[in-house]
């Protein structure tokens, strides 16, 4: 067993697991857990099938850049779609959608009719969770195989190295899932519109990062640059919300001014 390989694979895989699990977590909280877990399990099954059938050759020959590019573009599109809606709601240009109230209303109506509510699969949630786990899972497989095979020496052959790296990755996965399960409860108390806003920021950030990597961009600080992207998009959206709020106030002021002479005229006529 090679402790250096275990530690390196643990750290590198933890980053990938955190990235995948964050998306699984927010899909679970914002859409539903059934869709989120179904996507994650389907991706894990796909990964298992891919790795079992193609093995090391897959990780060596499938160009992950293309996968990153396609997933990155789709995530940017999803992210911007969600961000747009959230910004419009925060700025007041779009009515805040109270999903909880609507859900409770529908549930009460269904109960009144004696129907049972079955949590249904949301294709968007399943797909989002699936893509994230598949991409990150491939990266973990890549890390395990490259770290493991490159660490082979006189005392530990390639299989032993890959085994050590796999242990590091597995421990990282278990720890990330445990940590995620602990923060799941506090997350459910956050208003849904805010969560959707955060998801929009995250998807756009991950999408920019992966899409950029797929296009051959070498981001400074490697994976840590995702945090910079998150901060950047947060600041930009905050500014956009402020600008749109001002515009909404101007529009309301203009409408009030337009309505006043009409009201005055009506009052004079009634006198």
């Amino acid at each position: 067993m090679q402790w250096a390989v275990i530690a390196a694979a643990f750290l590198a895989s933890a980053v990938e697991f955190v990235e995948a699990f964050t998306i699984v977590l927010v899909v679970g909280v914002t859409i539903n857990w059934r869709s989120s877990l179904a996507g994650a399990l389907a991706a894990a099954a796909t990964l298992a099938v891919i790795v079992a059938t193609l093995g090391v050759a897959l990780v060596r020959y499938v160009p992950i850049e293309y996968l990153r590019l396609v997933v990155g573009i789709i995530l940017i599109l999803f992210g911007l779609k969600w961000l747009k809606k959230s910004i419009l709601r925060y700025s007041g240009l779009k009515a805040i959608h109270d999903e909880e109230a609507i859900f409770e209303e529908n549930r009460a109506a269904l109960r009144a009719r004696g129907e049972v509510i079955a949590p249904r699969f949301e294709p968007f949630g399943v797909l989002l969770s699936y893509k994230s786990v598949l991409l990150e899972g491939l990266e973990v497989a890549f890390i395990v195989i490259t770290f493991g095979s490159s660490a082979a020496n006189a005392t530990c052959n390639s299989t032993c190295g890959i085994g050590s790296a796999a242990i590091g990755a597995a421990v990282a996965g278990v720890l990330v899932i445990l940590a995620g399960a602990l923060i799941r409860a506090p997350l459910t108390k956050v208003p849904e519109n805010s969560l959707k806003f955060v998801v929009g920021i995250m998807l756009t950030s991950f999408g920019t990062f992966w899409g950029g990597e797929g296009l051959g961009i070498n981001w400074p600080l490697s994976d840590a640059f995702i945090l910079i992207l998150v901060a950047l998009y947060l600041v930009a959206t905050f500014v956009l919300v402020m600008i749109l709020r001002q515009r909404k106030q101007q529009l309301e002021l203009a409408r009030t001014r337009q309505a006043q002479p009409t009201l005055q005229g009506q009052a004079e006529v009634s006198r």
């Binding site: 940017i76 779609k81 756009t204 961009i217 749109l244």
Partner: protein, 68 residues
């Protein structure tokens, strides 16, 4: 046609976002592949981030103007 529209609505549902991002990816792919444009590769990341922000601003402006 209905399938294409369903996929479009499922993926993005906004023409400004779709066209804006696809044009950006096209430009960045050109920068990455055309030797004459390799000098711009250093600022590819900046171009991508700026494009994402411009696309978001553009679609929001359209929505805000539509609210008149």
């Amino acid at each position: 046609m209905k399938v294409i529209k369903a996929v479009y609505n499922f993926l993005v549902g906004d023409m400004i976002i779709l066209v804006g991002i696809l044009i950006t990816v096209g430009i960045l792919a050109l920068i990455a592949d055309v030797p004459g444009l390799h000098a711009l590769k250093v600022i590819s990341g900046v171009i991508l981030i700026a494009a994402v922000l411009v696309v978001l601003t553009a679609t929001l402006i359209r929505e805000a103007l539509g609210n008149k």
